[in-house]
């Protein structure tokens, strides 16, 4: 056995893995990056964030065109060429994946395409098209990510039952589409397919869709779904699915206990994601997994095996690319002897629906559940000139504030562009900013970013474009 020796091996080239590999290389380490797919970028780039945002952009265009009549602009009905749309989407992915490969090459990160398998705590075997390769490393970083869960009861081997991966491939536009799961993935894909013309029924076992978000923030999104989906059924459980000619027969139990049997052209299952832990040879190492199968890692991203770190979806928590990227930095810094940890790190969440929904830090429902004293201010976008210029007053910006110190603990935004706007909230929280800091920072007019400033002003009862009873005195008033 002629093993390749390296300082660090990274298993998985998603936004966690390639970030870890590049950062370690930038810090002067010899790095090998292993990826089973020929195209780098992981789920985020290939079957997640990027393709879904491309498709959402295309569908927004259709929707905006349809709604432009009131602006005195009339288009004909959109003609959709799915092959072309798919090719355009693929071209974006190709460009980005090529970019990652280029960046790896310039950093002298060796990329090996193949499946990695731990022989022991110091050795990784890689199955490549050219046969087995053995890598002896000082440290390994597992960044194998997650995949869409498909419960075995639904796994009929029928392509009409899709997960997000297949749905993003957008082979056709089913007339009747059932979406199982009202989380962010189901909502985003539901938005795309409903605008493209599918009649959508969404079922969710929980009593509400988008259950993780504060209900007041989720309301405009739910309103969109109510108007554009055929039906939303909460508290509903799918009992079974079976192939019935060219349809899928679905039996479900409604919230009132009633059984319902329906036929759908396609079913999209979005009931969560499972970690990619199997067939990694973890049993040959000291790495441990939890009851849900995620790798157990501490806040320094260290596993129970001192040679191995783990980052990203495979360790659980928020299954988000930007969380993985931060964890990548922590893992590399810990390996190179720095004192870093994933502690008190704010991870913003964005749901790319129509309108978008984004939050960071403490949410109102979390504060209520934990009995944390807070004050909340909400600025309605109906008072934002910018929102009215594109006919979207259905937004809200809200701040969660620590009453004693007036420190900003959480920010939530619903509205078009919320995903971009939330970054300011993340900076504010990370900087320990107070409401005064936000209120006294001049925001450009006319922009949606003003809603953050004005919601801060509302806290003091001073918002220019909204009237609210004075809640607080500003520091100047107190000292006056």
């Amino acid at each position: 056995m002629n093993a390749i020796k390296t300082d660090i091996v990274v298993l998985g080239a998603g936004p966690g893995g390639y970030a870890a590999a590049f950062y370690a290389a930038d810090k002067g380490k010899k790095v090998i990056l292993i990826e089973k797919e020929t195209r780098l970028g992981g789920v985020c780039l290939n079957w997640g964030c990027i393709p879904s945002k491309a498709l959402l952009h295309a569908s927004h265009l259709i929707k905006d065109a349809r709604e432009s009549e009131i602006r005195g602009i009339t288009f004909g009905e959109a003609k959709i060429n799915l092959d072309k749309m798919r090719a355009w989407k693929e071209s974006i992915i190709e460009k980005l994946a090529g970019g990652i490969r280029g960046l790896a090459a310039r950093r002298n990160v060796e990329v090996i395409t193949g499946r990695g398998y731990f022989e022991d705590s110091r050795t990784l075997r890689v199955e490549t098209s050219e046969g087995q390769k053995f890598i002896q490393y000082e440290k390994a970083i597992i960044a194998t990510g997650s995949k869409a869960a498909l419960p075995s009861a639904f796994d009929l081997g029928n392509p009409r039952i899709m997960t997000s991966t297949e749905a993003l491939d957008i082979r056709d536009i089913p007339e009747k589409l059932l979406i199982v799961g009202g989380g962010y993935i189901g909502m985003e894909l539901g938005t795309v397919y409903s605008i493209l013309g599918s009649k959508i029924v969404m079922v969710e076992a929980l009593p509400a869709i988008l259950a993780g978000a504060d209900p007041d923030l989720a309301r405009p999104v739910i309103k969109f779904a109510e108007e554009n989906f055929q039906e939303i059924r909460t508290g509903t459980k799918v009992k079974s699915m079976s192939t019935h000619k060219k349809n899928i027969k679905v039996v479900m139990t409604l919230a009132n206990g009633e059984q319902k049997e329906e036929f759908y052209d396609k079913v999209l299952v979005c009931v969560g994601r499972v970690p990619n832990c199997e067939d990694l040879g973890l049993e040959n190492t000291k790495v441990k997994t939890n009851e849900k199968g995620f790798i157990i890692a501490n806040e320094k991203q260290q596993t129970d095996d001192s040679m191995i770190c783990a980052i990203g979806d495979v360790v659980g928590g928020a299954l988000l690319a930007h969380k993985a990227t931060r964890e990548a930095r922590i893992a590399v810094e810990v390996i190179t002897g720095e004192n870093s940890s994933f502690k008190d790190v704010i991870i913003p969440a964005v749901v790319f629906t129509d309108p978008e929904l984004a939050w960071c830090g403490l949410t109102e429902q979390e504060a209520r559940a934990k009995n944390i004293p807070i004050e909340v201010v909400r600025f309605p976008w109906s008072a934002s000139g910018r929102a009215l210029t594109f006919d979207r007053p259905d937004g809200v910006t809200k701040l969660i504030i620590e009453p004693e110190t007036e420190r900003i603990l959480g920010v939530g935004i619903c509205g078009r562009g919320a995903g971009e706007l939330i970054a300011e909230g993340a900076v504010a929280i990370e900087m320990g900013a107070t409401v005064t800091d936000l209120a006294q920072t001049v925001h450009p007019h006319p922009t949606l970013s003003e809603t953050l400033m004005e919601s801060a002003e509302m806290f003091f009862g001073h918002a220019t474009h909204a009237y609210a009873r004075s809640k607080r005195k500003t520091p100047e008033e107190v000292h006056a």
Partner: protein
Amino acid sequence: MDIRVPRLGEGAESGSVINILVKEGDKVQKDQTLIELENEKAIAPIPSTEAGVITKILVKVGDKISVGQPIVSLSQDGAAAAPQAEKSQASSPAPSGAPQQSPSPAAPSYSAAQAPASYGAPYQYQSAGGFAPPASPTVRKMAVDLGIDLTRVKGSEGGGRISMNDLKAYILYLQGVAFSGQPAAGIQAPKAAAPLADFSKWGPISKKPVSPLRKKIAEKMHESWSTIPHVTQNDEVDITDLMAASKHYAPAYEAHNVRLTLTAIVLKACVQALKKYPQFNSSYDEAAGEIVVKEYYHIGVAVDTEQGLIVPVLRDVDKKSLLEISRELGDLAEKTRQRKVSADDLRGGTFTVSNLGGIGGTHFTPIINKPEVAILGVSRGSYRAVVRDKKIEQRLIMPISVSYDHRVIDGADGARFTRELSTALESFPSAAMALDKDKGSKGAKTAAKAAESPKSKTNFKKSKVLVKGKR
């Protein structure tokens, strides 16, 4: 609802229940005193924060209770009281539910004006929601790299945010502590007191527990004595004329039911010397590397009580007349002896006077009342044979001792200040003693009369000095 022990003030986290003034079933008003709590320096009445009927008393006399602990359970009948209670519950920031109303509200743990931070007492950041203290990622990263616990660092910015300067100040403070050999605030000295011999082997003994006050005195004295390099400058003051004048004016004060004491006059003289040497009216902020000079003159006066030494503070001595000072001094001393002084009465001093003249002795070494930098000790005056103008005269001589912090004050200034103080007393203007109605023509006459007094033969000469002193 429960009424809890409010925040009592700086450094006073607990106390012993010495008196319960209510019983179960009593109807109490808001602000009515429920119990009396003895802490290190004072007896604090703890008022009810709400009106209602006491359903249960949760403490008994002798209990040692601390901030946030429930004292009594209150039932609130009537709609008028209820919403207020709710409001106070809802807006209560601390998870302990400590009522916001307190007899002596302590400064909040963070304030925008609190810069730079100093660490006289241990600091611990607390967040009702369990959040880490606010600080930018840069500051947090530096803290992690240096192994600094940010919950120990006082933030000077809005919302208690810790700036890079706050972190630096804390590190300087830690470094100062490391090199001074003193334990940091909040860190107990590891050295345990050596066990004492069994004294009963040699004869009968009795034991009594150390009172909270005695313990506080012991801690405070030890801290001051071991952290401040003390120098004591002695001097002698000729108070013959001063005492003659004060004797003359005393009846006028008595008419106001006020006793004109030497201590009151000494306080006035101290202001003159402190104004001339402002470094004696300062504090040394090691952490910030600054000397904080105070532009107010709040002078502490050591009072001997049955339980031990207490130092109440007389405010704005420079702005008050001798009559006001004398009156307040009498009241304050009386209040202190009865242990009725509030925590606020004990705070904010800039200089301290300890007058042991009533007991006797010559010079002594007073210990500086930290964070002040100087203290005056006054001993008993006595008649001595003094050579003046080549003649031996009988003069009343009072020994004084000024202890000062040699880190802040140099020896020459120590001597100059002490001399200034002596001169201020020796040439104390009798006009300053005169009461309003005595001023004017009558005042002048009485002064002249004092000068003609046959008791002091050199008064004529001295009155010239008096005139000089008035400038």
